[in-house]
Subunit: 95 residues, 5 copies
């Protein structure tokens, strides 16, 4: 899973009816302390995440192992909101 911060939302015209009513969030990958780096991607929200939240996203066929995304053309989901990150014995993020 990737650590990411929710930075935005999308509005789009989607053919596939299984995906059409889902919330698609813009995620910016972060390092292990929650600092944004690298590139952004879009994931289907499973956990009612909001802008600014630090989350975990899961990718590939794993993204379809939920009732909401089963058999859908979806390759990334937000599957957890992070409450705390501890690195090298220190709390580096707390919600």
């Amino acid at each position: 899973m990737k650590i990411a911060r929710i930075v935005g939302t999308t509005i789009s015209t989607i053919e596939d009816e299984k995906v059409r009513d889902k919330k698609l969030l813009i995620c910016a990958e972060t390092d292990q302390k929650g600092k944004v780096f690298g590139k952004s991607y879009v994931a289907v929200d499973l956990v009612d995440a909001g802008e600014g939240d630090l989350v975990l996203t899961c990718h590939g066929s794993a993204a379809r192992q939920t009732h909401l995304t089963k058999d859908s053309p979806v390759d990334a989901v937000v599957m957890a909101v992070l409450d705390e990150l501890e690195v090298d014995g220190e709390i580096v993020f707390r919600m």
Copy 2:
């Protein structure tokens, strides 16, 4: 899903008859504001996208979760045309 801009089209000789009559578009990945960066790839069009459109592409086995691409040797599809992107509370793209 990746945010990408449609930059071109391809004509090709394809052995597999399930893919042969599909529209294969050249997509250039963009950042979260729709600015092109990085490398291009080719995806099967599911949403009648045209050159210049900002779209979402989905990758891997997820690309085969549609009637058009089921059981086909296809690893990327254009699954949405983006109408609007909002990042950090600002509209950064509107179609």
Copy 3:
């Protein structure tokens, strides 16, 4: 799918009998105009491509969605020979 140029061939000793008699080609990824960049990889030929050809390769489980590669330990196939690429309204490659 990736745009790639066929740059070479391989001879190898393969345990798996489903792959043993296949042609394995060295592919160099190109940009959207057919210019080689980045790294090379090896793909099973499905379209009788030859050295110098510009092709499309497909990756991951998609590479096994053909009669030739079904149930084989294969993660990349050459699935199309490109005849023409059009980018931003200009023909940038014609075979």
Copy 4:
């Protein structure tokens, strides 16, 4: 599989009940001698690994080929604790 060092732990709010009670560890990818480089990711622990351990992580659909992660939205697991790495005939890591 990637070679990685366990550098931290996460506490999170997870919707999916199959993943909720799993230990999710922060992994930092290392080179072949166990030196950390590149980016961090989060994986489900299968081997009771602890901070500082050098491990192997496996990714994609492979991460669901275990009793603990079957049918779960999980794309990375810690599947082995490394006891020894030998490179070019020299022991470069021993636990």
Copy 5:
């Protein structure tokens, strides 16, 4: 498939009994002439490869399309030992 050179071996404690008795090799990715670059990874040996051998590795779900790795948490296998590489009409590697 990636072209890689076997550079080392691993000893590890593995929970999953399907993987426990397999040989896990350290592979360093090479360019199309067999020169090592980029990062190393670990793959299950299917072809009795030894240190120094130039090989092909296959990744993702393809790595489980063999009797040895079926249903195992394995995302990379060594599936061929390379005997010869020809690039641009020249033999660039011969075993």
